[in-house]
């Protein structure tokens, strides 16, 4: 093991374990969590691994406390993370909102299982993706990533930390039970090949420092605890000094910036994978474990000579509106959206298609996944 604690090399590990390794490689040194299937392996791996790099792993009394603790640790200047599944994700929503309002970098991993409620604790679901977008009350911009393999659980956890540091907000890694529990080869690069980003910082201690005055990218530099800036951090609507000012004028300025720092930077944030999309008459839009099924379906349909492509959403939020709009205007006849829910991301696809292409939902309520044939049959009905 190198000084950085990064386990450079080839590993055969599951997605949850790869996520924990990604966090450590990203410089995460504080984890707070609560056991929940199918995300427990992340907490277990962090409990074993973090002390090896002199980090702290604490099992809190619930997910509310876990989320609060990682915010506190982040203001202490430490990269921090928690991991959970649906019921815990619901409990975290209040403090995710606090993290959004106070612009606190941290990472929340949700290994999605079937819901609502206790639902299918050990089986796969993808029904929390709209909760990721709108789950906490009020309005704010959000970044959510969707890994489709253990390798991506590693890679995108690092990406999530970097994005959280760049844009100063809690970033959501929306894994699913299948990807979390699937074991595959994971390649962990050498430390010097892993690009890490740190939060913007104020230049120097000064009496005139405004802790919530943004830079040009709409993100304010972050003064953490004990650095001499005497910052007040509040979940109340606050002005650029950080002082509570409960007026429409200040609220408009603050919340518009929280939305715009993601909306206006979306082209820099969004990651997509496109397979055979250029000449496709039908585009399958999929993410997470479902995109693996879709990939096989597209390959087999191509072998039959059908003009079908795959648009894989690596970034769920912000949604790639421009891409879908462009495809709809460019002659795509239909979008087919397989999801392990009763229709969530499909609303975004249909909205952006603007009536210029048909949108077909292939819902599945969870516990298991679509077969390639499910998707192939749907495509064949169109072309």
């Amino acid at each position: 093991m190198s000084d950085s604690g990064i386990l450079t090399g080839e590993h055969f590990i599951n997605g949850d374990e790869a996520c924990a390794e990604g966090a450590i490689a990203a410089g995460c040194r504080f984890f707070a969590g609560y056991p929940i299937t199918p995300a427990t392996e992340i907490a277990e791996r962090m409990a074993r691994r973090l002390p090896q790099v002199q980090g702290i792993c604490i099992q809190m009394e619930d997910e509310i406390a876990s989320m609060a603790a990682i915010l506190g640790a982040s203001w202490g200047g430490t990269k921090s993370m928690t991991a959970t599944s649906g019921p815990g994700f619901s409990l975290m929503m209040e403090n995710i909102g606090l993290g959004m309002m106070t612009e606190t970098p941290c990472v929340i991993v949700n290994i999605m299982r079937g819901g609502p409620s206790t639902g299918l604790p050990t089986l796969v679901g993808q029904a929390d993706v709209m909760q990721a977008r709108w789950g906490s009350h009020g309005d704010y911009g959000v970044i959510a990533l969707s890994p489709s393999s253990p390798q991506e659980m590693f890679d995108l956890t690092i990406t999530a930390f970097n994005l959280s540091e760049i844009y100063r907000l809690p970033v959501l890694v929306m894994g699913d039970e299948l990807v979390g529990h699937m074991s595959e080869k994971v390649i962990i690069p050498a430390p010097e090949q892993i690009e890490l980003v740190s939060r913007p910082r104020p230049d120097r201690i000064s009496d005139t420092f405004l802790p919530f005055m943004p830079n040009d990218d709409l993100v304010p530099p972050m003064a953490c605890a004990g650095e001499g800036f005497h910052v007040h951090v509040t979940g109340l609507t606050h002005d650029e000094q950080g002082y509570p000012v409960i007026t429409p004028v200040v609220h408009e300025r603050l919340v518009r910036r929280l939305v715009d720092k993601i909306r206006l930077n979306a082209p820099k944030i969004i990651q997509l994978e496109e397979i055979d999309v250029e000449d496709a008459a039908v585009v399958v839009v999929a993410y997470g474990c479902t995109s693996r099924t879709a990939r096989e379906a597209v390959q087999r349909l191509r072998a039959e000579g059908r003009k079908v492509g795959l648009l894989r959403l690596i970034t769920l939020w912000p949604f790639p509106e421009e891409k879908v709009r462009h495809l709809a205007q460019g002659g795509v006849k239909a979008f087919i959206v397989p999801e392990i829910n009763y229709g969530q991301m499909v609303y975004e696809v249909e909205r952006c298609a603007q009536g210029q292409a048909e949108t077909i939902l292939l819902p599945f309520m969870g516990g298991t996944i679509h077969t390639p044939e499910d998707i192939m049959t749907a495509v064949r009905e169109v072309i």
Binding site: A69, W75, V231
Partner: protein
């Protein structure tokens, strides 16, 4: 879609400076108060001003600077304390000050982290967090301002409201048993447990300063008047009347058994330092039992 925004009005730096220039620096303790934040929002007769003052004097007595100190608050009248203190302060969500402070204290063990919050915040919505942080012995100085009701929302019943006391949600008198906070804190594992009222300002300063020297989870309950939310429906009079009541009805009993310090409506209030013990903190144990296994040995 197209977006047609409302016009934005930029931050008025000049107005902010003017407020600070005119109002900040007049009082010798202003170095401890955030420039431009006074006057505060608390009602006339409220006990919170006294408590903030005793905290400031506790810092002075313990020779702690504002750069070494951090305050974390929850929501409610006491939750607003954080916003007035000139240090790094965190006004979090309702009930969650303790777990937020836990993360902060573990990430920055060199800082003195005080949790300032009310009885409703710490013991109703935040009760579970409180007992677990006490059990773990996280190095937090908890100051609970107990005014027996939810003041910010207009005087509703709290888990500390005595039996038969009237609030807006107990219009016929409270029928529920109330928490005895020192007993709860002691049983949960707090290493220092005391109770004073806002009348006992000097003892409170001493107690707060004393907790700054203790490594571990300390708990001070401060009984404070809320003449608007709690005093009026229970005919306790003004804030001053409540101070007189504290003077006449408090019994100083250091070392009192925390099991027997319940507070009844218009009853006696037992105050004092009830318990102190030595116990390794969360971080001391984690460091010795876990981190130490992986520490790179010098040489």
């Amino acid at each position: 879609m197209k977006i047609r925004h409302q016009p934005l009005i930029p931050f008025d730096q000049a107005a902010s400076n003017r407020l600070k220039d005119e109002q900040h620096g007049l009082h010798p303790d202003d170095v401890f108060l955030k420039p431009g934040r006074i006057p505060h929002i608390w009602c006339p007769g409220c006990g919170l001003g006294v408590v903030v003052n005793t905290y400031i004097n506790g810092l002075k007595m313990a020779n702690l600077t504002i750069d070494q100190s951090v305050v974390v608050s929850g929501i409610g009248c006491t939750g607003r304390v954080a916003g007035y203190l000139n240090m790094d302060t965190y006004h979090t969500t309702h009930g969650r000050a303790v777990p937020f402070a836990t993360g902060l204290a573990l990430a920055r063990p060199d800082l003195s982290v005080t949790v300032f919050s009310g009885d409703g915040d710490l013991f109703a919505i935040g009760g579970n967090h409180f007992i677990h942080a006490a059990r773990r012995n996280v190095n937090l100085k908890v100051i609970c301002v107990n005014n027996f009701n939810y003041g910010m929302t207009g005087g509703q019943a709290a888990p500390t409201t005595p039996v038969s006391a009237k609030t807006t949600t107990t219009p016929y008198g409270n029928s529920e048993a109330s928490f005895n906070l020192p007993y709860l804190a002691h049983a949960s594992g707090a290493v220092y447990v005391a109770r004073w009222t806002t009348f006992h300002a000097r003892q409170l300063v001493n107690a707060i300063a004393e907790t700054f020297t203790i490594n571990g989870f300390t708990f001070i309950e401060v009984i404070a008047p809320c003449p608007i939310g709690y005093g009026r429906p229970n005919k306790l009079g003004s804030g001053l009347d409540e101070m007189v009541y504290y003077k006449e009805n408090s019994i100083v009993q250091n070392g009192a058994d925390p099991r027997h310090v319940d507070i009844a409506l218009k009853g006696k209030i037992i105050v004092g330092k009830f318990a102190e013990e030595k116990r390794p903190t969360f971080l001391e144990e984690y460091d010795e039992r876990i981190l130490n296994k992986f520490r790179r040995k010098e040489g």
